[in-house]
């Protein structure tokens, strides 16, 4: 009996558990700490890593929910760009707070469109959101006319991405998403949907509503992420958040939320986001060029998926 219980715990630590992600983070910190102790292991550098991680986490919380439900959202980078540009363009006309809200709302609208197409036109989520990735990027270029809008010095919007504001935003969002996922019916239904859509339907869960809400939440989080990113860059540009979706998905999976759904958590995504940010930061510090960084990140994503994937469920990845 005791042995069996230990076995259960071990299994949990592999899928949706937090042990392996924490160990990965530790390994990354130890390696770069050993390679460049005076530059990697400093408080200012830790702040840089945390700030970077906060951006990934903000967008990643929404994507985590989508992945736990058994789907995927590839559109977050482009949606972030549209939200950032809309907010930056509107500040002079409507004031900072309404502009921020509208920026986030536009993210929610894009997410809702993803969800509606996914549910009612029955297109697999990776295709819907891939289409949105291109569409939203096109819209970003269209509405910006290819120009960038400075947010440096713009009240509120300009300060969102600074340390520690961005970390506090991520922490507040973490609390909200954690309660939603772990303490409400909606969160449980998201897991049930990722566990078995067939059974979730049998027991009468409102699946269509859940799916649309999920993608909308992911869009809202991506919208907020776009504002933070624009603030970090000092300007909202049409290429804002390019390939952000890859970093975010890597953070989610590295955190221990497998693409096969049902298990995982937003707390895991925090660890994954810090780990991937520490990795990127460490690679820069030891002087690797950005092309090598991209190769390393790609390999980390494959590695994380290999560890977290449930092969028996691979047929149902949507």
């Amino acid at each position: 009996m005791a042995g069996k219980l230990a076995g259960e715990k071990l299994k949990l630590s592999f899928r949706g558990g937090i042990l392996i992600p924490l160990v990965s983070l530790l390994v990354i910190v130890v390696i770069f700490g050993a390679l460049a102790p005076t530059r990697f292991l400093t408080i200012p550098n830790a702040q840089v890593v945390l700030t970077q991680a906060a951006v990934l986490a903000i967008v990643g919380f929404g994507v985590t929910l989508v992945i736990i439900s058994g789907s995927i959202d590839l559109s977050v980078g482009s949606v972030a760009a549209v939200a950032g540009i809309v907010a930056a363009q509107l500040v002079p006309q409507v004031g900072p707070i309404p502009a921020l809200l509208l920026g986030v709302a536009i993210g929610g609208v894009a997410g809702a469109v993803n969800g509606l197409v996914f549910v009612y036109l029955r297109v697999p989520s990776f295709l819907v959101t891939l289409a949105m990735l291109t569409t939203a990027r096109g819209i970003a270029y269209l509405i910006s006319d290819g120009e960038s809008f400075t947010v440096y010095g713009v009240p509120i919007l300009g300060d969102l991405g600074a340390y520690p504001t961005v970390v506090l935003i991520a922490a507040a969002l973490l609390a909200l998403f954690w309660i939603l996922l772990n303490k409400t019916q909606m969160g449980l239904y998201i897991r049930a949907l990722g566990g078995s859509e067939h059974i979730a339907r049998l027991v009468g869960l409102p699946l269509n509503r859940i799916k649309v809400s999920l993608f909308m939440l992911s869009g809202l989080a991506a919208g907020l992420g776009g504002l933070v990113l624009a603030s970090r860059q000092g300007a909202a540009t049409p290429n804002l958040g390019t390939s952000l979706e890859l970093d975010v998905i890597t953070a989610v999976v590295l955190g221990g939320t497998p693409l096969t759904g049902c298990v995982g958590n937003v707390t895991n995504t925090v660890i994954g986001a810090i780990a991937i940010s520490a990795l990127a930061n460490g690679l820069i510090i030891i002087g690797l060029t950005s092309d090598v960084q991209m190769i390393v990140k790609g390999m980390v994503l494959v590695l994380a998926i290999l560890v977290a994937l449930e092969r028996s469920k691979i047929g149902i990845i949507k």
Partner: protein
């Protein structure tokens, strides 16, 4: 010969149920009555229409024509969820539990207990755990201490206990068990049969779909033989034996005489056989 329970109004009446899939008739005028505290075994060869009948009863499939009455009132289900809300529960052969969720989460899925906290509806896990522990303790002693582990880590028999607990959790009127003994060890089969008796005694109407005729003869009051989507014979178990049932399943009853067990209690059952 007619049991006392058949004197009372039936809990469920199926009248002249037909189900066609295009040109194919899965059910051709099937009728069946179910009474409180009664277990009915449904047998028939593959393709006899057992599973279509069960699917109609549990709301997964809608009949082409015919009437379902629950406690005398005509009723129709658009989904398994609606059937469950009306008190008709089914334990599927594949158990339909979600492996990564806990025992408690599976038992309550779709009908969670919540409490309000600052205007937000949160899951009342403590309450659900308490109810689940009590339910599971009665079904599978020892398992009640593991209500928070994921169902994946349980044995097949334990998973079935979870599925049964889910079906029992909300005071059902009718319980359908689809091949409940198929994946069980001999010892667990005995426990399942005891459970069916307990369910009967507590006043439920039980439908048992099983290939194991000896199980049906042991715990059921009636056995309903189907072939080609229609009723062949509706028999009291005390008036028949396994040999006769097997013959009826194979022949469709053409060679035999109409059973006396049908009697006056189920005239519609006898009349629809020809149609």
């Amino acid at each position: 010969m007619i049991q006392q329970s058949t004197d009372a109004a039936p809990v469920v009446e199926l009248r002249n149920i037909e189900k066609r899939y295009g040109q194919v008739s899965a059910l051709r005028g099937m009728s069946l009555n179910l009474h409180k505290g009664e277990a009915v075994g449904i047998v028939g060869d593959n393709g006899a229409g057992k599973s279509t009948l069960v699917k109609i009863l549990c709301g997964a499939v809608q009949p082409t024509s015919g009437e379902i009455r629950l406690n005398g009132k005509p009723i129709g289900f658009n989904s398994p969820h609606e059937a469950r809300l009306s008190g008709i529960e089914i334990v599927y052969q594949d158990l339909a539990v979600i492996g990564h969720l806990t025992i408690t989460q599976n038992v309550f899925l779709g009908r969670e207990e919540t409490r309000s906290f600052a205007g937000v509806k949160l899951l009342d896990n403590r309450k659900m755990d308490r109810i689940t522990r009590k339910l599971i303790a009665g079904l599978d002693p020892g398992l009640e201490n593991r209500t928070r582990v994921s169902v994946d880590s349980l044995s097949g028999g334990q998973k079935q206990s979870v599925a049964v607990a889910r079906a029992m959790a909300f005071g059902p009127k009718v319980m359908i068990l689809d091949e409940p003994t198929a994946a069980l060890s001999v010892e667990k089969i005995e426990r399942m049969l005891t459970l069916i008796r307990t369910l009967k005694e507590s006043g439920l109407a039980v439908i048992l779909i099983s290939h194991r005729l000896q199980d049906i003869m042991t715990v059921c009051d009636r056995v309903v033989v189907m072939k080609s989507g229609a009723l062949v014979r509706d028999l009291h178990v005390c008036t028949t034996d396994i040999d006769e049932i097997v013959k009826l399943m194979v022949s469709g009853g053409e060679m035999g005489a109409v059973s006396g067990a049908l009697g006056s209690a189920h005239p519609e059952g006898a009349s629809t056989r020809s149609g």
